[in-house]
């Protein structure tokens, strides 16, 4: 079954736009970079390692790709 067909038959996710798995992966990557930069600027100086933001980003990525 092609990706186009899959995305047509798929239940709408929580994202407000129609997406395929690659769009959702892209959104996850964008969030990962933004969160990492934000973390390095504001939270890492307080002693919170940037790896925490990476773990959060991976969890978010899984949720977005699966349910977005």
């Amino acid at each position: 079954m092609s990706e186009e067909r899959k995305s047509k038959t798929r239940q709408p996710g929580f994202l407000p736009i129609e997406t395929n798995w690659f769009d959702r992966l892209f959104i996850a990557a964008v969030i990962w970079v933004a969160l990492s930069l934000f973390w390095m600027r504001f939270l890492e100086p307080l002693g919170l390692s940037v790896w925490i933001s990476t773990v959060i980003s991976v969890v978010l990525a899984v949720i977005i790709v699966k349910k977005g």
Binding site: T9, Q11, P12, G13, L15, P16, I17, E18, F26, V30, V33, A34, S36, L37, M40, R41, E44, V50
Partner: protein
Amino acid sequence: MHSKKLGWLLLAPTLLILGLFGIFPFLYVVWVSFHEWNPFAANPAKIFNWAANYRKLVFDAQFLASLGVTMAFVFFAVVSEVIIGYLLAQAFMKDFPGRAFFRTIHTLPLIMAPIIVGSIWKLMTTPSIGIIPYMLKHTVGFDLNIGTSAVAAFAITVIMDIWHWTPLVTLTLIAALVSLPSEPFEQAQIDGANKRQIFWHLTLPMIRPALIATVFIRLMDAMRTVDEVLMLTGGGPGSATRYVGVHIFREVFPRTNYGYGSAVSVIVLYLTIVICWLLYVSLIAPRTRKGSS
């Protein structure tokens, strides 16, 4: 199956060129951005430093300031170019004596190299010899000096960009306007629609794809402006026109800080992609219809 193989075969040259000149250099820049690398230092080797360049970047006041002025530059330049470009396209759609001549003249800036555009504007704005300070001084009594006034320098770089790139918008919109069918417009006129209604409900929705494509192209171009500005103001006075492209140039070439320059380049590319994607999502992406399967 045969047609699939043939398809890949026909795509192969494009993919090869894209890979060689697009994907590979991009991946190389990403790789370099995770290193400390000064090829002209005592130790010219690349030293892997994880995300240290990105960590430095988020605290770099000069970079953050350059990002701010770049956003302002992009906003003023692109909005002005789209509005002026549309008005010029509409003007060139009408028949008037010398239309072809004006159309050619107005397209000339487009064929100039940015460095030449910068040189021309430098000559035109130099206080002692430039025509613009001379005219302003003798007409409205305004002393234009882009070497000392931050606002004037910023405004002149925006005007220079508008002068250089508005013809691109005009040409694209002329092509879009010419291809519009005449029936809906005739119908609207018969129904009594005024010019404003025709513009908002017919012209604008019908030229939207061309308009959005033009905005994307101009936005991406404006984000990476370097040579014109470097020639005209050198990024000054102070850091008034130190746009991100100029900032990257200064990091990579005079300072030979290749690793950090690459990290800044990657983030600028990231921001450009995100801005274009947000524009795409807000303007043309199909919406999810909740409840449908």
